[in-house]
Amino acid sequence: MINKIAGSMEDAVADLHDGASIMISGFGEAGVPDELIEAVVAHGATDLTIISNNAGTGEHGIAALIRENRVRKVICSYPKMAAAHHFNARYQSGELELELVPQGNLACRIEAAGSGLGAVYTPTGYGTILAEGKETREIDGKQYVLEYPIHADFALIGAYAGDRWGNVVYRKAARNFGPIMAMAAKQSIVQVSRIVELGELDPETIVTPGIFVGKLVLGSPVNAGESA
């Protein structure tokens, strides 16, 4: 029998290891798997590479991982946030490596990993300092930069509901990077606000099929004023 449901946040992140690369979904507060990240802090794994759109703010989430000096490298599009003091301090002291990637290239490199492509030619970034040193090619009169897939050992994903096969649906703009990160990591761990019976999710509307999910764990209710 397939049962991907972990009994606790601790169980959900039990396979983490030092040196792991970890994708973390979320854009703004939407879709950030807060409790899974807290569990990573508690787990103690260090020397991590974090792949996420942002690099954390305040004292929570990725910022807490950086504060605790668990992060070796961040691959992201937008680390500059109000209250990103932990990122700023470690980055400016040279303790933290940053690979800055345009957001759409971050998305398509994650997609390339998930779909087994070896590399893609993308137009984004051509002629800018973010493409410096990268291979380029003119195709049909347009200039492209060769970009390689971003794989990860783990993906931590915030979603809305899921079942024991690992099928998952999201809520509004909290979907963001979740579905594509789930495809690109060796083990995807999904925090949901509701666990439902198998068959309760409509087969037509499942967004992340269970094949892309390793573990599923019940987290806090939806991040919203309005009800779902």
Partner: protein, 224 residues
């Protein structure tokens, strides 16, 4: 650069109104973070404009009432928004496919500098020690069918932000098709900048002198 009192510079609001006028009915539009976002306030009610937000929304509506805020429904600037009837959600891969694949009709962006051939610099001042952060800027710059930039034509210290060559780090090459400023509207392209509109009280000679660029009006049959 408004020492000349006769020059009727556009206010921020009038500039947003002017940009909104050029967005046709049924257009799919991405409004960049900051000033471009205000264009939404001036889209005519008799047109259906579908706003794209790169975090996975089509059909984005205005800000909600305080008691209807939903932090799962935010725009690219992380501000709470609403959803219009007919809108939908999708993941980041599909969202940037819309952008990169040329499906968005118009993208409206702010800028530090724009070159006469449409190069854009709007993501990084290049200041030493600054935390670099690009977000979706480079994707927005090169993906849409048309990229509009809206900005003040001059910096606070009077330097023209429309330039021959950008000195700030580039966001995209030759990507801006039209520039809307408080002093006038420009068409940009491989052959350089041409002026489409000038605000009242400003001559093309004045504008050339103030910007340090050799500017000419677009021919009357230019698509304005």
């Amino acid at each position: 650069m408004n020492q000349d009192k006769a020059v009727q510079r556009l206010s921020r609001e009038d500039l947003a109104r002017r940009v909104a006028r050029d967005i046709p009915d049924g257009a799919y539009v991405n409004l960049g973070i900051g000033i471009p976002t205000t264009v939404a306030n001036f889209l005519p009610a008799d047109r259906e404009t579908v706003l794209h937000s790169e975090n996975g929304i089509l059909g984005m509506g205005p800000a909600p009432a305080e008691d209807r805020i939903d932090w799962d429904l935010i725009n690219a600037g992380k501000q709470p928004v609403t959803m219009l009837t007919g809108g939908c959600f999708f993941h980041h891969g599909d969202s940037f496919a819309m952008m990169r694949g040329g499906h968005i009709d118009i993208c409206v962006l702010g800028a530090f500098q724009v070159s006469v051939r449409g190069d854009l610099a709007n993501w990084h001042t290049g200041a030493p020690g600054a935390i670099p952060a690009v977000g979706g800027a480079m994707d927005l710059a090169i993906g849409a069918k048309q990229v509009f930039v809206m900005m003040d034509l001059f910096t606070k210290t009077g330097e023209s932000k429309l330039v021959d060559h950008c000195t700030y780090p580039l966001t995209g090459l030759g990507c801006v098709s039209r520039l809307y400023t408080d002093h006038g509207v420009f068409e940009l392209g491989p052959d350089g900048a041409r002026v489409i509109e000038l605000v009242e009280g400003l001559s093309i000679a004045d504008l050339s002198r103030l910007t340090g660029l050799e500017l000419a009006m677009a021919p009357a049959d230019s698509p304005a």
